[in-house]
């Protein structure tokens, strides 16, 4: 039965996330972008917000912290800083996939290390056609041999473990690959257009030999589509939050900025763009919620998640771009956040996978 009413608990989580985003994340975003690094205590404070640690601590928390809660929280965090929200959504994707689809042994082995108070990186690497080499896994007598390369993995050098999706005998599966496995190589981080503080780097998996139990879910295997759907819902939420920050920052400015004797907000060419931002940000949110709701109900979110990501990616670009335009020269200089938001919007909207909700 259709309802758009979040639970009391979700409202509370959103309020806390929003306050944290305003007080802590937003003020730190520019310095992190310039230095291409988050201060360690900032990452730890994002971690202590609890989205990942709660799930890692108690896999039963999955039902109390559904995808719908996670996407609402990620949206609010991204309103403060989309890069920080992406930083937490990486390990969230990994932990969620493990908690939902890992074997008992896999959960015991990996989850407890994510239950602490300090930030820990992990990534779901879903290689698509734009990656240098298609990911492939080959069955061997002792397990699997995997080859893959994934560009722009957030915090690649800090990840202790990767979840890599690859084709094996016609089926896509996910494999847990510890960082110290022979054949895993992390390239130096390269400065990027946006999300600069994420220390993104290429990870290559060259003929990595894995035991049978490295496959997520072990003999049961796993539902890789669900992992990708969750990534898309997370990206949708982060892009909604980013678009929302542009809108909220731009709206008052257009009422203060006087051109030819009146505020630019009183001109239809500007006011209508603000209307479109408002319309589209809402639609982005509802589409993301729809995908999250389907994921939580365990039905296929293939269409809803793919279309949410697609719509959000296209709209966040337009919204961030118009945000820069409304500020004119001030939108272009680096003492205001508009140009950073535009770069972050482009970065987020070309990503697929690597996060989760």
């Amino acid at each position: 039965m259709i309802s758009f009413a979040p639970t009391e608990e979700q409202r509370l989580v959103c309020d806390i996330a929003a306050e944290f985003a305003t007080k802590t994340l937003a003020p730190a975003a520019r310095a992190a972008d310039e230095s291409r690094r988050f201060p360690e205590d900032l990452l730890d404070s994002v971690w202590r917000f609890g989205l990942v640690a709660n799930l890692a601590d108690d896999p039963a928390a999955l039902s109390q912290q559904p995808t719908l809660t996670n996407v609402q929280a990620l949206e609010r965090l991204a309103e403060g800083d989309a890069a920080a929200a992406t930083a937490i959504a990486g390990p969230l994707g990994f932990v969620k996939a493990l908690a939902e689809q890992g074997s008992q042994r896999q959960k015991e082995k990996w989850l407890s290390s994510f239950a602490g108070d300090a930030f820990r990186a992990a990534t779901v690497a879903h290689c698509d056609a734009r990656d240098a080499a298609p990911a492939s896994a080959r069955l061997t007598a002792s397990g699997y041999e995997i080859s893959a390369r994934k560009a722009l993995v957030p915090f690649a050098a800090r990840c202790d473990v990767f979840l890599v999706t690859a084709q094996c005998e016609g089926r896509t599966e996910a494999y847990i690959i510890p960082r110290d496995t022979p054949g895993v190589a992390v390239a130096p981080a390269i400065p990027t257009l946006g999300l600069r503080a994420l220390e993104m780097a290429e990870v290559s998996f060259g003929n990595v030999v894995l035991p049978h139990n490295a496959r997520l879910g072990e003999e049961r295997g796993c539902d890789v589509a669900r992992i990708l759907d969750s990534a898309r819902a997370a990206l949708g939420a982060i892009m909604t939050g980013l678009a929302s920050s542009v809108f909220k920052y731009t709206l008052p400015y257009t009422q203060e900025r006087v051109v030819h004797g009146e505020p630019i907000a009183r001109k239809q060419s500007v006011a209508f763009k603000l209307s479109d931002m408002h319309i589209e940000i809402d639609a982005m949110r509802w589409m993301t919620w729809k995908a999250a709701d389907e994921i939580d109900k365990g039905c296929s979110a293939r269409r809803s998640a793919a279309l949410a990501r697609r719509y959000c990616a296209s709209r966040v670009m337009t919204i961030a771009d118009e945000g820069v335009q409304m500020f004119g020269g001030h939108g272009f200089v680096r003492d205001m956040p508009l140009e950073m938001w535009l770069r972050n919007a482009r970065a987020l909207s070309v990503l697929d996978g690597m996060v989760g909700a």
Partner: protein, 380 residues
């Protein structure tokens, strides 16, 4: 708790409505060269099929709420091209409910009441209304004079609620509404407008020459109350747009499938055909509109009509139908120009939704004023 899944009953009703919409396809072109004909109350194919609105009312507790399910049933009506069973959505009835006294409502509630707002040169600016209702103190009657155009249900309505300047020696002048029954001397209805599309919709002009009305016919509505009815209807118009757009998209996928154009959720972005990518973008726009309509109707159901949510849904719907129907004709190509298939009909029908019940520009104006806290004087 957030739940974006329809109930089992919702789904059952929608499936039945879809089946009826496909039966209605046999009549989708009945009006292309017969614009003076009116929709039958029901087509013969409806016989023996349940009335989905009646079912929705009977089982309303098992639905997501009547407002939501009813809007989604309109989507299905438009999927068919014409409704198999006519279920008039006339704003005059809504205005009567909002502004009429219980006695007035009791007298006219079972009639189809058109809303007469737009005038030659009026349209998006109802404040410029020139129609007048002048109080004749000697006779104790109102005298109505003026012209209205583009009036839906003009030809078939039992009565019209007319927006006019009320001129009364003892009262403050202002816009008000008057109910004029069919057959009132001086009330005449023009022939049907010749339109690009939606030729099954009854659209004509109304003229009032010294129409004499009793005080009982004065529905004490002002412009605000009249416009309030739009908050309910605008998401419904967005549903019309969703129905036509769904039909056009389904036709495009079906026609292009033999050429390898299929929905792709994980396609290789470098090798995906341009046609696939463009249709996927339109699918995303469709979902965005659908969710906004659900949201607007959910708000209405829980908090009363949401003016802004309604405008948001309508703005998306109007733009969606233009983009989808125009792109679908382009992608199908020359075959889509032919009246053998429905693409060209969707193209012609789909254009109205960004115009009637407030153009896309009017919706954006209302939304902008709301988010900026501006009055009509601040932003127009």
């Amino acid at each position: 708790m957030i739940d974006l899944d329809l109930t089992a009953r919702d789904k059952e009703l929608i499936a039945e409505a879809r089946a009826q919409a496909l039966l209605a396809r046999a009549h989708a072109r009945d009006f292309e060269y017969a614009e003076d004909k009116f929709l039958p109350h029901e087509y013969p194919e409806a016989v023996g099929r349940p009335d989905v609105r009646e079912l929705a009312r009977r089982h309303v507790d098992e639905t997501s709420g009547f407002k939501i399910i009813n809007a989604l049933l309109y989507l299905e009506d438009w999927y068919g091209g014409v409704p198999l069973r006519e279920y008039p959505y006339s704003l005059g009835n809504t205005v009567l409910r909002i502004a009429g006294t219980p006695e007035q409502e009791a007298r006219w509630k079972d009639q189809i009441i058109a809303i007469a707002m737009t005038e030659p040169g009026g349209g998006s600016d109802p404040a410029s209304t020139r129609t007048t209702a002048t109080w004749d103190a000697a006779a104790g009657e109102w005298v109505l004079n003026g012209d209205k155009i583009f009036i839906t249900y003009a030809g078939t309505c039992d009565a019209a609620i007319v927006l006019a300047h009320a001129v009364h020696q003892d009262r403050k002048p202002g816009l008000s509404t008057f109910l004029v029954e069919r057959g009132t001397p001086g009330f005449s209805i023009s022939p049907q407008f010749r339109k690009m599309g939606i030729r099954h919709e009854d659209t004509a002009a109304l003229s009032f020459v010294d129409c004499r009305l009793s005080e009982f016919h004065h529905i004490a509505g002002d412009l605000k109350k009249t416009l309030q009815s739009f908050s309910k209807s605008r998401p419904v118009v967005a549903c019309y747009a969703l129905g036509v757009s769904r039909a056009a998209l389904d036709l495009a996928w079906e026609t292009l499938a033999p050429h390898g154009i299929l929905p792709e959720y994980d396609g290789d972005p470098l090798r995906q055909p341009a046609a696939t990518a463009r249709l996927m973008d339109l699918e995303a726009d469709w979902e965005a509109t659908y969710m906004s309509v659900l949201r607007a109707k959910w708000v209405e159901q829980n908090e009363g009509p949401g003016k802004i949510e309604s405008s948001m849904a309508k703005a998306l719907g109007g733009r969606l139908a233009r983009r989808v129907t125009q792109t679908v004709v382009e992608l199908i190509g020359p075959a889509a120009l032919s009246e053998d298939i429905l693409a060209e009909k969707w193209f012609r029908d789909g254009r109205i939704f960004d115009i009637y019940e407030g153009t896309g520009e009017i919706q954006r104006l209302l939304i902008a004023r709301h988010i900026l806290g501006y009055s009509p004087r601040d932003l127009n």
